[in-house]
Symmetry: D2
Subunit: 132 residues, 4 copies
């Protein structure tokens, strides 16, 4: 397994995540936590947080969790269900590993707001490319 420090260092090289203000605050052993302060820049034309911003927070946290083992994991398939509109404020993502095989692994990521409302549920599968 990568040391926690390593996976956090890798995530710091994620320019897109930084552009959106996404931070990985914890990662290791198939789990990760991420957060994003949703502001003006994350809003869509309806004035609520854009689905792509919510997805990006979840996806980055998913990447942190799935790359916390000794293999490079790339996303194959993702499904997101939007449960509640999100407004400006902190959003939190929590990724947990549901299944881990040699080549494939599946994760479930919950995205919640400050009031602990479930904003979206994200289910993703990675292909694990190599063992380093």
């Amino acid at each position: 397994m990568f040391a926690l420090k390593n996976i956090l260092d890798i995530m710091k090289q994620d320019i897109f995540a930084q552009h959106l203000g996404i931070r990985i605050v914890e990662a290791g052993e198939g789990q990760a936590r991420g957060e994003m302060l949703a502001g003006e820049v994350h809003l869509n034309s309806l004035g609520i947080v854009h689905g792509g911003a919510i997805f990006s927070l979840a996806d980055t946290t998913f990447a942190a969790a799935s790359n916390s083992h000794q293999a490079t994991a790339v996303a194959v398939n993702v499904t997101i269900s939007y449960c509640k509109a999100a407004h400006k404020g902190m959003l939190y993502a929590w990724a947990k590993e549901i299944s881990l095989n040699r080549r494939l692994a599946t994760y479930l990521i919950e995205i919640k707001d400050e009031q602990e409302n479930l904003i979206a549920l994200f289910q993703g599968t990675v292909y694990r490319k190599e063992y380093s």
Copy 2:
């Protein structure tokens, strides 16, 4: 149906899409086309275009297509399959309507690169909130 001009005007109020450089170039009658010049800012820690950036391009094009009728459409569920890694350069999204009911509608969005490679396939369903 909204006039094309209207839906394009609405999309211009999408601050998040603008922040990522996403442009809707065509929209109407359940279809839409979008594009994004993927640059440094869209890359992840592996140096390829972030899944969240690809998703956001597809999602914005999906929003343009699904809001081209006289109802406010909000995303319920989306699935994205990543077929090929994307590098810096233009990315194109094309959304078409697969099914349209009174309250629900389903769209399929293809994301391709400049060489016409399929980068991802996005299947999304909206809930149609009101008739204006």
Copy 3:
């Protein structure tokens, strides 16, 4: 909410579920449990339980959970991730409600075998048609 008896009575009218040997053993308040004894008839050409049989068990349990409130719920979108091949023997499905809105609700269904291995994870959204 339907009384437990009512939802179980409704599920008994599910001819397809009976044809596959699917039984709902518990349902109410957005939750449900189902089971199926996977036998020769549920196998595919590889000699393992067919993805359609696993899906049908999950889908029937999802229907029981989502129809346990006073509204007719119909499936809009479903995603299933297959985590492990299933062999002959008992399969168990457990559906729980993740999100409940006036018109839409989302459920997560785990399918496990007798050894508690996770066989598949099913995420489904329903549209709630009417209040009776």
Copy 4:
């Protein structure tokens, strides 16, 4: 590629598909066509074709298409969007290959009724286990 005859022979060993009356009528080069006569036995408690029956038709056609190359393909992830309720009568599935990589491939399967109505759209990804 398997000869068409071979893949059709393999599909005949799919006991579950036969139990549901699913027939693969064409398969090869990443494509396949399947059909099923939906009768009393395929109905759910609402008197319409069970989501699991529709899924199983699509899934079997997906298996035929994805196993038409020289590799054993197993389903990783599937999403199905239900567009219209199906009634008794013939249902048709058409699977086409969207993307084919060494280890992963993605397919899109349309399910239609006799009137050419789109009943459901199925998007599935397989993992390709071995080259024979």
